[in-house]
C-alpha cells in the first residue's frame, strides 16, 4: 500500500507535541511544519495537558520520559479529556525493549515513533491516524444520527399512541365480568381489543390482529375503532358492524393486509352469545360445569372479501350465568421458547384443564405461556380476553351522566316509519328510530331506555306478530335452537307483511313525553298470558313485557295484540348540587 503524499499534504493537522529535550522538540516541530501541519510544542506533560482543551489538536505526540509529568500520565489525562472523540496519541521514544513499548500502548497510546525521526515514517503514520480519526468521527456522527432518529421515532410513536388511545380506547373493558391482557404498545404490534356497551344492555367485544407491525398496522385500527364504538352506541347489531368494518378495510387497506378478528355480541338478558370468528384461533366457551366448546374460525379475516361475498352471520350460543368465553390472538399459540417450539393448541388445552378457578383463566394461561417461553418478553405479543356471562348485568352505558347537550333540537314532532316485505328480514329500523329520538335535547341521556322500548316492541312485533313464533319454544334448550332456526326460515317469507312505528314527542313542564305506537301485520298474540307466565317463571324470553311496563308510564295493547302503545314520560335532570 502506498501512501499518496498529495493526499496527506492536503489534510493539514493540528498537532500537539511535548518533549523536554530542546533540540528534539526543535527537530520535530520543524519537521512537522515542513510537512504542512500546524504545531504547538510543549516542554513537558503538564504543559501538554494544560494546553490540550484550548488547542484541540487532531493528534498528540508525547515523549515518554519527561520531568514534572511524564508522557504516560499525560496520555491518560488527554484521553480522558477527549472523551468519545478519537485523538490519537503517539509516543516519541528511544526505548527499545518490547516491555517498555507495550507499557506505552497499555497507557492509552495508539502507536510510537522511535528516534532518530524519519520523515517518511512520520508522514505515513500521521496519514494513517488521520484516516482512522476521520472514520471514527464519521461513525460517531452516524451513531448520533441513528440515536437521534430513533428518539424522534419513539416520540412520534408516543404522540401517535396518545391520539390512538383517544380514538381506539378500550371502552368498557374494565367491566367486572371481563378480564383481559394486552400489551401497552399493542397498537404497534397490530393487536386490537375493544368493548362497548350496547344501548339496550349487553355489549360488543372486538378482538383482532392486523397483519404487519408498526405504524401501518396501527393505522388500520383507527377506522375500526370509530365504526365499532359509533355503530354500537347507535344500536346497530354485530352483523351490521362486521359488514361496515369489512367494507371499510377492503377499501382502505393495501392488498395483503387484513385483520384476523372475532366479534362477540353478548346479550345478558337473553342469555345469549353471538360470535363471529374470522381467522383468529379457536375461541373457547367453558360452561359452568367445566365442559368446553371450541369455536373455530369459519370465515376469512376482515378486509379480504368484497361486501358482496362477505358473510356476517353470527353463530348464536345459548348460555347460562357463569359460562365463560375466552378469545385470543395467535400470538398466544405462536409464542416460542428458546428451541423455537411454539406454545400451540395442545398446551393451551392442558392449561385450560388445569385452571380450576375460571376467574383466573387468563392469568393461568398467561403464566403457562410465560413459563413455556422462559422469559417475560413473551408477554409482549399476547392478547387475551375472557367474558363471563352474568345474570342480566346492568351494563347501562353511563349516558345518564352525560352533560345535557347545549344544542337546541326538535321537541314537538311526529313521524311514521314502516318497514315492509323482504326488508323485514334484512334490515333493523332500530338504529334509525333511536337516532330520531336522540335529536330531542335532554332525551339523549335516556338512550338506553328508549332503545330497550323500541327493540322490545320491534322484536315482539316481528317474532310473535309477523313470524308467529311462540315464546313458549324458548323455555327449553332444544326449543331455543329450534326457535332461532325457525326464525331464520320464516324471515325468508315475509312478503305482504309490515311493521309500522309511529313516534310522537311533545314538550312538558318537567321534560317531555314520547309516545310510541308499534303495529304489525300479524294476527296478534295473547299478551295477557305472556305477561303472567313471565311474572312466575324465569323464561329465556327474559324481560320482555315486564320490562316495558316498568320503563314506560303506560303500556297498552289493542287489535288483539297487534298494536302496542307506550307512553314514556321523562324529566330534565335536576341541576347537580355543588
Amino acid at each position: 500500500m502506498k501512501v499518496s503524499a498529495d493526499h496527506v499534504d492536503a489534510s493539514a493537522l493540528r498537532i500537539l507535541i511535548a518533549d523536554d529535550s530542546d533540540s528534539d522538540r526543535l527537530i520535530l516541530k520543524t519537521l512537522l511544519k515542513r510537512l504542512g501541519h500546524e504545531v504547538r510544542a510543549a516542554s513537558d506533560g503538564r504543559e501538554a495537558v494544560t494546553v490540550f482543551p484550548d488547542y484541540q489538536p487532531d493528534i498528540v505526540l508525547l515523549d515518554v520520559l519527561m520531568p514534572v509529568m511524564d508522557g504516560i500520565d499525560a496520555a491518560r489525562r488527554i484521553k480522558e479529556m477527549a472523551g468519545e472523540e478519537l485523538v490519537p496519541v503517539i509516543f516519541l521514544t528511544s526505548l527499545t525493549d518490547a516491555d517498555a513499548l507495550a507499557h506505552c500502548l497499555d497507557a492509552g497510546g495508539d502507536d510510537f515513533l522511535t528516534k532518530p525521526y524519519n520523515k517518511v515514517i512520520i508522514q505515513a503514520k500521521l496519514g494513517a491516524f488521520n484516516r482512522m480519526r476521520q472514520m471514527h468521527r464519521t461513525l460517531s456522527r452516524q451513531r448520533d444520527l441513528i440515536q437521534d432518529r430513533n428518539r424522534q421515532l419513539l416520540e412520534e410513536q408516543q404522540l401517535a399512541k396518545r391520539v390512538f388511545d383517544n380514538i381506539a380506547h378500550t371502552g368498557c373493558l374494565d367491566a367486572d365480568n371481563i378480564r383481559y391482557h394486552i400489551s401497552p404498545l399493542s397498537i404497534f404490534n397490530g393487536d386490537i381489543l375493544f368493548a362497548c356497551p350496547r344501548p339496550a344492555g349487553g355489549m360488543h367485544i372486538l378482538v383482532g390482529d392486523f397483519t404487519g407491525h408498526g405504524l401501518p398496522a396501527a393505522i388500520g385500527a383507527l377506522p375500526i375503532a370509530e365504526i365499532f364504538y359509533g355503530m354500537t352506541t347507535m344500536g346497530f347489531s354485530g352483523s351490521d358492524l362486521l359488514r361496515e368494518i369489512n367494507d371499510k378495510l377492503v377499501r382502505i387497506l393495501p392488498t395483503g393486509m387484513f385483520c384476523c378478528a372475532a366479534l362477540i355480541q353478548a346479550d345478558f338478558h337473553l342469555n345469549q352469545l353471538r360470535i363471529w370468528n374470522g381467522g383468529l384461533p379457536d375461541g373457547v366457551l367453558i360452561r359452568r360445569d367445566g365442559t368446553k366448546e371450541f369455536l373455530e374460525s369459519k370465515y376469512l379475516p376482515l378486509g379480504v372479501l368484497s361486501s358482496g361475498r362477505f358473510d356476517a352471520s353470527m353463530e348464536v350460543f345459548h348460555t347460562s350465568a357463569g359460562d365463560m368465553l375466552l378469545m385470543m390472538t395467535d400470538g398466544v399459540l405462536e409464542a416460542e421458547n428458546q428451541n423455537s417450539e411454539q406454545y400451540g393448541g395442545a398446551r393451551l388445552k392442558q392449561a385450560l384443564d388445569n385452571a380450576s378457578a375460571s376467574e383466573q383463566l387468563i392469568d393461568a394461561v398467561l403464566t403457562d405461556v410465560v413459563a413455556f417461553c422462559g422469559h417475560r418478553k413473551g408477554r409482549d405479543d399476547l392478547t387475551l380476553v375472557s367474558l363471563k356471562m352474568v345474570v342480566d348485568a346492568e351494563f347501562r352505558q353511563p349516558a345518564e351522566q352525560l352533560p345535557q347537550s347545549v344544542l337546541k333540537g326538535p321537541t314537538d314532532w311526529h313521524c311514521v316509519y314502516e318497514v315492509r316485505d323482504e326488508t323485514l328480514g334484512k334490515f333493523s329500523p332500530l338504529p334509525l328510530l333511536l337516532h330520531i329520538c336522540m335529536e330531542v335535547p335532554g332525551l339523549r341521556r335516556k338512550s338506553a331506555d328508549i332503545y330497550t322500548l323500541l327493540s322490545e316492541l320491534y322484536n315482539n312485533a316481528l317474532e310473535h306478530g309477523v313470524l308467529k313464533l311462540s315464546s313458549d319454544l324458548k323455555t327449553s334448550s332444544d326449543g331455543f335452537s329450534y326457535y332461532y332456526s325457525e326464525r331464520e326460515r320464516r324471515l325468508g317469507n315475509v312478503d305482504g307483511h309490515f311493521i309500522r312505528f309511529s313516534l310522537a314527542h311533545r314538550k312538558t313542564d318537567a321534560g317531555g313525553q314520547l309516545r310510541i305506537i308499534c303495529e304489525d301485520s300479524g294476527d296478534g298474540f295473547d299478551h295477557t298470558t305472556e305477561l303472567e307466565s313471565q311474572a312466575t317463571e324465569a323464561h329465556y324470553s327474559g324481560r320482555g313485557l315486564m320490562l316495558m311496563q316498568k320503563l314506560g308510564n303506560s303500556l297498552r295493547y289493542s287489535e288483539y295484540g297487534s298494536c302496542a302503545e307506550i307512553v314514556y314520560d321523562w324529566e330534565l335532570a335536576e341541576p347537580v348540587p355543588e
Binding site: S94, P116, K119
Partner: protein, 114 residues
C-alpha cells in the same frame, strides 16, 4: 561494543535539509543542552541520585541519536543502564567517556557549521 560512527553524515545532511536556516540554531541548542547535561550527570553522581542520573542519560541519549551522533547515544545508554542498576561507581568512568566523545563531536559540528 561501541563501534558505531561518531557522526552519521547521512542523518546530519537530512537534518540540514529539513531545518534549513534553523540548522545552526538546532546545533547550538544541542551543544548547549549537552554540555549542561554532562554537568547534571556529574552533579547526580555527587549527590548519589541514581534516578536523576538515569533520566538525564536517557534524554541525552535521545537527542544524540536524533542529531546523528550514534556513538554518543550508545555511551548515554550505558550510563542510563548504570544509573538504573544503581551502579554509580561505574558511572563516573562512563561520564568521562561521554565527555570525551562530546568534545570530539562538538569540534566536528562546529566545523560543519562554518
Amino acid at each position: 561494543m561501541n563501534d558505531k560512527p561518531h557522526l552519521d553524515e547521512e542523518a546530519l545532511t537530512e537534518l540540514q535539509d529539513v531545518m534549513e536556516e534553523e540548522f545552526a540554531v538546532l546545533i547550538n541548542t544541542y551543544l548547549k543542552d549537552s554540555s549542561d547535561r554532562i554537568t547534571y550527570l556529574r552533579n547526580a553522581i555527587g549527590s548519589a541520585d541514581a534516578d536523576a542520573f538515569a533520566k538525564t542519560a536517557h534524554s541525552f541519549k535521545g537527542s544524540s541519536i536524533n542529531i546523528g551522533a550514534p556513538k554518543l547515544g550508545d555511551l548515554c545508554l550505558e550510563a542510563e543502564n548504570a544509573g538504573k542498576a544503581n551502579r554509580l561507581g561505574d558511572a563516573a568512568k562512563v561520564v568521562d567517556q561521554i565527555e570525551t566523545e562530546f568534545l570530539r563531536i562538538q569540534k566536528t559540528l562546529k566545523e560543519f557549521l562554518s
